[in-house]
Each structure stands twice: as C-alpha cells, then as structure tokens.
Point group: C2
Chain length 339, copies 2
DNA sequence: TTGTACGCGTTATCAG
DNA sequence: CTGATAACGCGTACAA
C-alpha cells in the first residue's frame, strides 16, 4: 500500500549535506547557517518530506503525543475542554490522542494501556476513581498524567478541576433558599464515578445542614443519556406528593427531565423546577433556560495542557489547580408552587 | 521522564530465547512451540512488556492507526459517527486518531499532513471540498482514505454518505407542500464546505421547480454555532414581511434560531416554522421538537471503517456507499400562519 | 522450530 | 556550523 516516502537521507542528498544537518535544520533551525537552511527547506518542500514518526519516536524516545481517555464523545460534555486541550497542545507540536471508555472502569484501564503502548508522553484522565493498578502502571512507566474534572485539597495526584461536592452543595443551597423542601435528584451512576458521587454528597450535605434528608425514593441514579434521564424523571413525577424540584447530575439528564415533564403535561418551572450541572450549550437552548452549575471547560483543558507540558519538562509533580464554578440562573428554577 | 521500559531483548533474555522468537510468539503464536510460547508469555507478563510502538512502526511500516479530521468537536454533529467508527476500528485492533480543522481548509490540510507524518494506515475526511493538493498528497503516499458525510453518483473518491442536496430539496419540498411561500434559509458558510453548499443548492432547486427563488436577503450564511445562528435569525426576523419558515443548514443553527425567535416574543411554529438538518440529540430536546433531516450517523461511521479496512487489505478502490436520509417531522414545522 | 543479522528513519554524541 | 556514526526496538529474510 503505502508508497516509499522521502527520508531524511533523500533530503540530505538533494541539498548536499549530511542527514545530521537536515535533522538539525528541522529541529533547531538556528543552529544551522541560513543559506544551508534555505537549501534544505527547499529540498524538503520539493520532495514533500515529512519526518517519519516511528523513526523519531525510536531515536528520541518521545512521541510528542499525549493521550486522553474520556467517558464518551456522544454528548458535548467533554468536547469543549478537549478542544482547548488540543489547541494548547498542538501549539507546542504535540498531538492529542483521544479514546473513550463508555464510563466503564475496565474499559478505561484497557484504553490507558493501549495509549501507553503507543508511547504517549503524557496522559489526561477524567476524575479520580479508578483501579489502583492503573495508577501503579502509570507511575511505573513514569508517564506524567493529570486528572481533570475534579479537585479536592488532598488529592494525591495532580489534578485540574473543581470541587464537585461543593458546587452541588451550593446549588442545593440555592434551591433551599427559594423555599423548596420536596427535593429530588437524578444523579449519574455513582459507582466508579467520583464526580457523580461527589455531586450527590454535596446535595446531601446541604439538605442535612437544614435538617432535611434525601430519601432513597427521591434519588434516582441514571445513565447520562436523554432517554435515561427522562425515564428517571418519570419515576419521580409519579410520586405523591410530587417533588417541587429535580436536581440533575448533569445537563443531559436535565434535558431528559424536561422531556418527561412536558410529556406529563406539566411545565417548568411553574409546576416543577429543574437544575443541571456542567453548563453545556444545551443548557441555554432548553426552554426555559436551564439553571445549572457553570464549569470552566476551556480553562480546565488549557490548565491541563500547561501542567502536562511542564511535567514533561521539569519532571516535577505540580500542585493541583482549583478552578471556580458558579451557578447560572436561568428560567428553570423558581420558588416552589404554593401547597 | 519516561522510565526505561522492558524491550523484546529483555523478554528474550528472561525466557532464554532469541528476540526473533519472542517477536514471533507475539505476532504469530502458532509458529512457536507451545512450551517456549508459555515461557515467553510468562516473561512478558512478569516484565509488563508492551511492544514499543515506534520500533514496530519502523520495522513493519504499519501503525495500526487511522486518522480522522473533523471540523469540530464542540458540538455533537460528528460525535456519534466517530464513536461508531472508533468502535469498529478498535474491534480490529486499530486505533483512531482524531483531529480538528475548525472548518478551515488550510488547517485541515495541515492536520492531514500531521496525520500522514504519524504514518496512519488510513484516513477519514469529511466531505469532498478541499485543495487538490491534499488529494494528490494522499494518493502519492498511497494511503487509503474515505470521504464521509457526502455522496454523489460520480464522486471520484470512495465516499460513504448521502446526497446533501437531495435531502435538503426534499425538506424544502415538504415546506412548500405545507403552503409556505416566504421561505428563508440560514446556511453554514458555503466556502470550502460542500455539504453546506449542497444544502443550499437543494433548497434552491425545490424553490425553482415551483417558480420561486431564494433572494439574497432571504439567505444568510452563518458559522455553525448557536450564537451565530441566533444572530442570523434576528436579521431574517427583522424583515417585512417576515418569512413564514426558516430552513436551517443544521440543527445547531436551528437551535440558535429558536432562541432568537423566543427573544423576539414569537413562537414556533405558530408565528414561524423552523427546520434543521442532521438530527442530533438537540433536535428532540428543543421545544417544540425540531423537524429535521435524519442522517444515519452510526451507519456512516461503521461503513467508513469497513471500507477503510477493506482498502487496507485488498488495496482495491471500493465503490461508494449511498445511505438514505429521511425527514423527521416534529412540532417545529406547521402550515404558515394566515396572511 | 529457532537463531543470526540486518535494516527501518531518526536523533544525539562527538570530532572536526 | 557540519559530518560520521552509533544507538533506538522491532520484524523478517535467511540460515541452521
């Protein structure tokens, strides 16, 4: 299949220098005389030369690649952060390799191994909860990695994110302040997902502080999909008395809840309020706009990139980066209906 | 940074055979005696050996990698198809490398070069419109590639997709059948984007066939973003008389239009109808649900994977695959308001 | 069935 | 500033 590509040697021959000089011309242009550089540049262009990746990886023991394993590409949750990550990395000549785990820890471990096999220079992982073996593996290999979408004061690994529990607590607090007392939650599947679990904890904490609780029948765990979110909401709507507000573990779940509420002939927020988490585009497209926790997607991606590049250079273990979240008030949250 | 990893030679030493045998044990297990194989397998496990990607690429001239360049990850348009592509490929031990062009042809060309430099065994590109140089490059390199999201009878390259013009024409036809005559369109930027252009052509064709036309002030080109879509819609809503329907080049633009319409105190579809294109999740989350062109995302991704793998094996240039689209009627399209 | 030996394209060291 | 040349880890003729 693949035809023979021009190699460094071809370029060297055509420009009348040695391969070493060509290599330098490409990697450290200022260490070669301008005129030779020009000849080489010409030859490169004429031949359409591109460095051979494998050769480079072999000789330099670097791949200029970082890997990221995210749960899914099917919704936009991770898209914006990834985009930012990629932009930062490619500005430094580093390629981003993305793969997905479908929220399955074993699958994630497999993807990590695959990425390591490809010799990635660094790795970005979502959240903190995973088999200890994965961390062991990463450390044995000496591959720098950073965790994103989570942050807590005493996290043992470099992480860039925010305090999911605190953000969820703040949202619940806001809901309480409006007078809601029959509060329900649709959470993501908490098993193997520390962000989903932390968000539940945060809500619990706020309720506890008010002498309330989140009874089992007011908490539904659900896959992060529209359909599953709608199904979960249906279960909550069937209860008597009906909750006056549904706190959702993310915006996709909230969108599903909207659909169920609409199908039930109810309206947001007159009959029932809804809140989300993540602030993806979806949140302000919904009608009414979704009140949600704003997450600094792009800044997370950018900070992760910077941190990874720094770790590759210094080899030092950096401090985590704690970013702020905030609550975006839109139409979906109002005081509970009377009665 | 990266610690020294075990190599083939380490495994060979530990199991008391030559590197050649270890290599065979890994790549063609049945060509080595069961007992030696067992010893080798043990050593591999003990050392935690993983083949070095660069070395393998260098020696075998294959990377078991295919690349895809998509316009953006920021919305979900390409996500589902990519996911399907990735699933199919990884089932065959092939890794998918994704990069983005931000709808910029030059950027796309750069990404293609970068991917080629990494020695991808195949490539997936979106649509047909790009600099001839890119095609030349691909063919000179002998790297199999397939175009997705587009199909037409006489496309000179292998493509998997659908007829964008025909799908848009059908949608416009449906709108005409409902009695609409003041028809406006928000299209994607057509320059460098054959899908966007084809969708405009399709709408034009339907109108022409009815003795109507799409005057310049009823056609707005817009970036594929919510904000830009809303802005475009605002311009159209300001006209007198107002259009009775806005055909949008994709669902994201339509969602933007919804927002503008809502802000203008109007309602869909009572005051104005809206249609989309792509049928991403967004379309049935909007309220009312968006009437849109359903695109077979997953089947496109799967077919592309199959085609690419086949091309890698046979080396033959396969026929294109034409998939069907369909119109999904939801609440956003109704007969025009009287008057 | 197994081993030897070479080459893949690049970088890096060291002389010049 | 430039050139020889030795790695880098693996696959694969070819030989045994």
């Amino acid at each position: 299949m693949a035809k023979d590509l021009p190699t460094l040697e071809d370029v060297a021959r055509m420009s009348g220098v040695s391969t070493a000089t060509v290599s330098r011309a490409l990697n450290a242009p200022k260490r070669v005389r301008p005129e030779t550089l020009a000849r080489i540049t010409d030859a490169v262009a004429q031949l359409g030369y591109t460095p051979h990746f494998g050769g480079r990886a072999l000789a330099s023991n670097r791949t200029f690649t970082v890997g990221a394993v995210i749960p899914t590409m099917e919704n936009a949750i991770f898209a914006r952060g990834l985009q930012a990550l990629q932009e930062q990395l490619s500005a430094q000549g580093v390629t981003l390799l993305v793969s997905t785990s479908n929220y399955d820890p074993d699958e994630e471990a497999a993807q990590v191994r695959a990425l390591l096999g490809r010799g990635v220079d660094g790795m970005v992982l979502i959240g903190e909860a995973r088999d200890a073996q994965v961390y062991t593996l990463l450390e044995r290999r000496g591959v720098p990695f950073v965790l994103v979408w989570t942050w807590r004061p005493d996290c043992p690994w470099p992480c860039v994110g925010f305090d999911n529990a605190e953000a969820a607590r703040a949202m619940a607090q806001q809901v309480l302040d409006l007078g809601h007392r029959r509060i329900a939650m649709i959470a993501g599947i908490t098993r193997g997902n520390d962000r989903a679990a932390a968000r539940v904890d945060g809500v619990r904490g706020a309720l506890d502080a008010h002498g309330l609780s989140l009874p089992a029948d007011r908490l539904v765990e659900s896959d992060y999909s529209l359909e599953a979110g709608a199904e979960a909401a249906r279960r909550l709507l069937a209860q008597t008395p009906r909750p006056t507000v549904i706190l959702c573990g993310n915006d996709v779940l909230a969108a599903g809840a909207y659909a169920a509420i609409r199908d039930a002939g109810l309206s947001v927020p007159a009959d029932i309020s809804v809140t989300g988490f993540d602030d993806i585009d979806l949140a302000h497209v919904l009608s009414p706009g979704l009140t949600t926790v704003h997450v600094p997607h792009r800044r997370m991606g950018e900070a992760a990139a910077r941190m990874l590049l720094a770790m590759g250079a210094d080899g030092a273990a950096p401090d985590g980066v704690a970013l702020q979240t905030g609550i975006v008030r839109r139409g979906s949250l109002a005081a509970p209906p009377p009665g």
